[in-house]
Amino acid sequence: MSDSIFNLNYFEIFSQPVTTEPDVNLLKQKNRELQQQAHPDKFANSSDADKRLAMQKTSLINEAFETLKKPVSRLQYMLTLKGVDMNGETDTSMDGAFLMEQMELRESISEVRNQAEPLDVLATMLADLKSKAKNLTIEFSESYELDDLEKSREIVRKLQFISKAEKEVNEIIEQLEDELI
């Protein structure tokens, strides 16, 4: 591996095309291959400079892997490749219907413990969120292809909401399951 890894984008590091749905197994396989060459353990006997370089390379590979592995960060990263940085953005406009839906969802999450079979309800919620995310990802693909960056951004914002809701659902599932052990 040449030092030029620092000049590659994350998809290039993993020899993958820029896509919303990369082959995750291929990513994992490639990750292991890259780590075999770059990991600091392979440079335990090298100079401090080489050790440092190994740490930086592996840090980069890890960062790239983590970014591409998770859907929201992957899409966000795709936007940065087109010059859109969503970190710290102040314009967060979103369509009202979506926001209303999210608020309702949050409400049902917070009241789920009162349901007869809370775990079943939560499982349905999760499935629902997953299918929404899938549709949004397809939409993103199209708008990204057409360079409609404004729309792509809005989709990512929606996905961020969904991912946050997923996390909340999972936390409650975890609590309920812990109570059952």
Binding site: R32, Q35, Q36, H39, P40, D41, K42, A44, N45, M55, Q56, T58, S59, L60, N62, E63, F65, E66, G88, N170, E174, E177, D178, I181
Partner: protein
């Protein structure tokens, strides 16, 4: 002298150089040292054939005793005999108050008063920190390694619980430094166990390592594939272990006996804990056991503890470990059904109830066929061997993760996560912050570790200030804070104000860790020892070099000494060669050997040059000069 050795390209004249490295499992209850010899990893025993070294140190005015002999004096001399010191590693006085509130007197030591945030235990040999006490254990293990392998050690891999935070890891590394050990890597205990298990069984797939030791609990979910050991997630509790089983049993004994723990002396308390531990161990074999305790001359108690009672005492603790298992599975995005094996590690997994509950949870019979005490040290030795370059195939690779999220304090005492738990390491991440007041020219950076939202609920790792950046209106300054976590899981932080370039960086010396000055003082104390050590090392190095030189000159002389040298020249070289050989065996200082070698180098310089020429001519014969341009 290197020119003497002219060999075929790609062929080394140096015999294969085997470097010695050890793996150390520095445990709460017992410690071990292992190494790879003749391709096989195994733990090393002491002169009595014992592999386990009890992690107990006894201090007296003129001696330090480590291991069984110390352990035997625990009840007799509780204040000077320190055990389970791992539980105090990287912990501050405040932490201990929080951690041990239920049995405030369970630590039968006297702590020195003072303004230091690091607890110091009063002993007959002076006040000792956890780092110093651990270093005393490490020294014994290092010596055992050197004596068994008969050579200088290149270094050691030292294992730590996966769930150890930055302060605890740093403390462990400090202890090794103090013991004069070159730390090749800090390795997570479950990862080490997986290496030993994986290489032994050849298993491939997703494996859970359940590691319940004396004082710590770890769960790691790992993917094993083609020599790559990839940690998918890790979880646990760095203050939960078999010791807690003992404490639960001890409390039960005290309740049954109607004895208030605050009325007991340190010795009696130790005795109750020891009896509790023996009873626990007995119940792995038998369904019930009798406990007899003489609290004092006129107060003794006898009772029966059976498995049912034991289970009710330890079930709440086992439940805590299972909750961690569930979280780790979720973090790894793995279903229980995907886990092909559950590997049981740590002495406390000998408890039948633990095996039973873990098997029930994972819906598979846990693997208990490997020695749960030794597997971690063996894994560490395999990693150490690979790190020093002895692993010929070089396929072994361990990919680990950060166990606990790292973050910064932001306004309102909130912790903002910069790197979340279970992120693969090494990792580097930066985050930009800004000022909240007009004209603000300094900013305090407070680094914390943990999963909670409030800074007060997380562990404080370090505080530093970034000063002197230009005055801006609120929100205009750009302060970029970069976290770098290395392959040992250790953090360093740097901060930079982007518009001015003002920079600050810190090695994260934990808030509750030792100050640099403290480490320095300890190092100074052991300096004399270190100086001797260094001399011995450089003499040893020169001896090796002398052997190499002798071998080279002998082989050259045998090769072409007759043709290339006159009788007098040969005689001169041989004589100086002889002097070197004598020095090789008699020299007590490295310099004497160096002198002898440079003398030989001088006298044979002409010979070297002739050989060089001959070799060049030989290799050029039959070729056109152009080819060499």
């Amino acid at each position: 002298m290197a020119l003497l050795q002219i060999s075929e390209p790609g062929q080394s004249t140096k015999p294969h150089e085997h470097k010695f490295a050890i793996g150390i499992d520095l445990g709460t209850t017992n410690s071990l040292v292992a190494s790879v010899r003749s391709g096989k990893a195994d733990t090393l025993s002491d002169v009595d054939g014992k592999h386990l070294l009890p992690s107990v140190v006894r201090y007296s005015a003129d001696s330090i005793v480590v291991g069984l002999a110390a352990k035997e004096n625990q009840v007799k001399d509780p204040h000077n005999t320190i055990s389970s010191i791992k539980r105090l590693m990287g912990r501050g006085v405040e932490d201990l108050k929080a951690q041990f509130k239920s049995l405030s007197d369970e630590l039968p030591y006297e702590f020195a008063e003072g303004d230091s945030v690091v607890p110091r235990i009063k002993t007959a040999a002076g006040n000792k920190t956890a780092v110093e006490i651990s270093a005393d254990i490490l020294k014994v293990l290092k010596l055992r390694g050197e004596e068994t392998l008969g050579d200088e050690l290149e270094g050691a891999v030292i294992t730590v619980p996966a769930y150890f935070d930055d302060a605890q890891r740093q403390a462990t590394k400090d202890a090794a430094t103090l013991a004069g050990i070159n730390v090749l890597r800090l390795l997570n205990e479950p990862t080490a166990a997986a290496v030993a298990y994986g290489l032994d069984s050849g298993a491939e797939g997703i494996v859970a390592v359940y590691d319940l030791g004396g004082g710590t609990f770890d769960i790691s979910i790992m993917q094993l594939k083609q020599g790559v050991f990839e940690v998918l997630s890790t979880g646990g509790d760095s203050a939960l272990g078999g010791d807690d089983f003992d404490h639960a049993i001890a409390q039960w004994i005290l309740e049954q006996a109607g004895v208030d723990s605050s009325e007991l002396s340190s010795s009696s308390l130790r005795l109750v804990l020891q009896e509790a531990c023996s009873a626990k161990e007995a119940l792995s074999e038998h369904t019930e056991t009798e406990i007899k305790i003489d609290f004092s001359a006129d107060k003794n108690w006898t009772g029966i503890l059976n498995r049912e009672i034991l289970n009710t005492l330890i079930d709440p603790l086992i439940k805590k470990t299972l909750m961690s298992c569930r979280r780790a599975l979720r973090d790894a995005d793995v279903d229980k059904e995907q886990v092909i094996d559950v590997v049981m590690v740590g002495g406390s997994t000998r408890a039948l109830r633990v095996r039973e509950q873990v098997g029930e949870f994972f819906e598979t019979e846990p693997k208990v066929d490997i020695d749960p005490d030794r597997v971690v040290a063996i894994g560490a030795a395999i990693q150490a061997n690979a790190l020093v370059g002895n692993d010929a195939e070089g396929n072994l690779l361990l990919m680990d993760v950060l166990p606990l999220s790292l973050g910064l304090e932001t306004m309102g005492g909130l912790a903002e996560k910069i790197i979340s738990r279970n992120t693969p390491i090494p990792v580097s991440r930066a985050q930009e912050f800004t000022t909240y007041k007009d004209g603000q020219t300094a900013m305090a950076v407070h680094v914390v570790q943990g999963e909670r939202d409030l800074v007060d609920d997380c562990r404080s790792l370090a505080k530093f200030e970034l000063r002197g950046f230009p005055s801006h209106v609120a929100g205009a300054a750009r302060i970029r804070v970069t976290f770098q976590v290395d392959a040992d899981g250790l953090l360093s932080v740097s901060a930079k104000e982007e518009t001015s370039g003002i920079e600050a960086s810190v090695e994260v010396k934990p808030s509750y860790g030792l100050q640099d000055s403290e480490i320095e003082a300890m190092l100074k104390a052991s300096m004399e020892f270190a100086a001797n050590d260094k001399d011995a090392r450089s003499l040893r190095e020169q001896q090796v070099e002398a052997d190499r030189v002798l071998e080279a000159i002998d082989s050259a002389m045998a090769d072409d000494g007759e043709e290339m040298l006159s009788a007098e020249e040969r005689e001169a070289i041989l004589q100086v060669r002889q002097e070197l050989e004598i020095s090789r065996h008699n020299a007590t200082e490295a310099q004497q050997l160096k002198d002898a070698m440079s003398k030989l180098e001088k006298v044979s310089a002409e010979y070297v040059a002739r050989r060089m020429n001959a070799s060049v001519q030989k290799s050029m014969a039959g070729h056109q000069v152009e080819e060499f341009k």
